[in-house]
Amino acid sequence: MNGEDDTLPPEIAARLRHDAERTAVLVPPVVDEAVLSRARERFTEIRRRHSRARKVWWMSAAAGLVALSFLASSLINAPRFDRADVDQSGRVDILDAFALARRIQQGTAGGFDLNRDGVVDKLDVDLIAAQAVRLRKESA
């Protein structure tokens, strides 16, 4: 410029650089609010995800517990009833005892040792008959 040197003198340049480093960065409030809002959204999302995961875990645990109790119940009750239903009619009546007695007579009664004494005999037949005539509470 008009034959003059357009570079700053080193002392001034150093001073300006020094001042610039010391000056705090001013963030406009709009940007600040936007960053804060995004951060809040993000943390809310993380919290929601954790809460959802916890709910799923409890629901799975409850469902597992119910399934387990059903299984235990069926293991306790079902075998005896199923095994006593010799003719597989869906109910235990005297015809099941009769069917087992006939099988014993024919020598084909294996698998119906209901009282688990090692033999299939009249005691097993009596057990089924007793179940057939057992009084149940009246529905009325």
Partner: protein, 145 residues
């Protein structure tokens, strides 16, 4: 001595009431249960019997040798007004009853002079090979003497 007798009487009365078994005043009656299997031999049956205002006090077998023994029943039915009776016989068809036959007798205790309400249901019946059959059942009160 009179006081002692009075005390014993009171104790017996209290114990009798506490046991909850109030006797039904009245008479003993009997119902004969008949099953009619028509021309088919009867090998097994299951019936339920209920009578109003009565307590079952005894059950005995039927007239035919195949069902002469008392049938299966729940011992809890004693002192109740309903019972399920059932029996079977694995004998050959020729040794089993056909037609109408008395298969059991139920003895009851009742306060009513005449048992007006009773119910008899056939729950199951079968022939010697195990096939289910339809039978007729009837409860007939014995003539009280």
């Amino acid at each position: 001595m009179t006081a002692l007798r009075l005390l014993v009487a009171i104790v017996l009365l209290v114990v009798g009431r506490a046991s909850g078994q109030e006797p039904v005043p009245g008479t003993f009656r009997a119902f004969d249960l008949f099953v009619d299997s028509g021309n088919q031999p009867l090998a097994a049956y299951q019936l339920s019997f209920a009578a109003a205002d009565a307590k079952i006090v005894g059950i005995e077998g039927g007239e035919h040798s195949a069902f002469a023994d008392p049938p299966y029943y729940d011992p809890k039915a004693m002192q109740e007004n309903r019972v399920v009776v059932a029996a079977f016989n694995t004998a050959s068809p020729g040794q089993l009853p056909r037609g109408r036959t008395r298969i059991a007798t139920i003895h009851i205790q009742t306060s009513a002079s005449v048992v007006k309400q009773y119910e008899l249901k056939v729950e199951a019946a079968a022939m010697p090979a195990g096939e289910s059959i339809t039978v007729k059942a009837e409860a007939v009160e014995r003539n009280p003497n």
